[in-house]
């Protein structure tokens, strides 16, 4: 097994847990957490290092960058359930926004934000993330499970579309069936 395939297989498993949590109506933070992990691993599998069969060293910021750079043929965009390259390019902005929102919920990135290392994000300066409680200010902690994650970039539809793209790409690369239900 190559490094790329190893990361793809783990990404596929993460995505199947995302699907399970969503189907069972589990808390949004857990759904986002698994989607974030699946996206991070897919991006690592697509890294130039993995392409040379070296262990990828990408950070948590890989998914949105990979999506932004993705350039596909007509056949490939159809496998991702878009009618044409133009349709895919039109949808790409929303996909990248959702990917950025999701990856910015990784605890490491939340920590970077709270330290001011990142100044452009949905959650500037606070520790909003999908895993650990954070201080809302004035020593008032909140748990991810109590936060509603109702930002537009994280709408159920946006997350669903992002998950479908990840699923289709992983299935295509591994030559396996998808783990999310597809249109009939």
């Amino acid at each position: 097994m190559t490094w790329s395939e190893a990361f793809l297989r783990q990404a596929r498993s993460d995505l199947s847990i995302f699907a399970l949590l969503r189907e069972q109506g589990e808390d949004t933070c857990h759904q986002i957490h698994y989607l974030q992990m699946a996206g991070e691993k897919l991006a690592k599998s697509e890294s130039a290092e993995a392409g040379r069969n070296e262990r990828p060293t990408l950070t948590h910021y890989g998914l949105s960058k990979w999506l932004q750079l993705l350039s596909l043929s007509n056949a490939e965009v159809r496998r991702l359930e878009f009618r044409s390259i133009a349709d895919f390019n039109e949808a790409k902005g929303a996909l990248v926004s959702a990917a950025k929102a999701v990856e910015h919920l990784a605890p490491k990135i939340a920590n970077d934000r709270s330290k001011g290392l990142i100044t452009h994000s949905l959650w500037n300066g606070v520790g909003t993330n999908a895993e650990y409680p954070w201080d809302q200010g004035g020593n008032l902690p909140i748990s991810p499970v109590e936060y509603d994650f109702n930002e537009a970039e994280l709408s159920a539809l946006r997350l669903h579309r992002l998950a479908l793209v990840l699923d289709a790409r992983i299935a295509q690369k591994l030559n396996l069936h998808r783990v999310l239900p597809t249109r009939r």
């Binding site: 040379r52 060293t57 890989g62 990135i109």
Partner: protein
């Protein structure tokens, strides 16, 4: 490269690093989180079909303040001095 910049209006410029085996490209995008200065530019392996043949590319994103400064991937033999700048149309 121009096609990619047309499809991605957030790419304000591109840099091409000549290589005999594959395309090495970096696009300037101010919307991204800066690259890790210790790890250098994060690059992805993309394969594009052009006129019936497949072209392998190693592609990354940088912010304008990183141009000429952020370390290039270790596997690249080129330096920033080898780069040719391509402006957005």
């Amino acid at each position: 490269m121009q096609e990619n910049m047309k499809a991605n209006p957030e790419f304000t410029a591109g840099y091409w690093f000549p290589d005999e085996h594959e395309y090495h490209l970096l696009y300037v995008d101010e919307t991204i989180v800066p690259n890790d200065p210790d790890q250098g530019v994060a690059t992805f392996r993309l394969i594009e079909s052009k006129n019936g043949s497949e072209v392998t590319m190693s592609v990354g994103l940088v912010r304008s303040e990183e141009v000429g400064k952020v370390p290039l991937p270790e596997a690249w033999k080129q330096t920033w001095k080898d780069a040719t700048k391509v402006n957005a149309a």
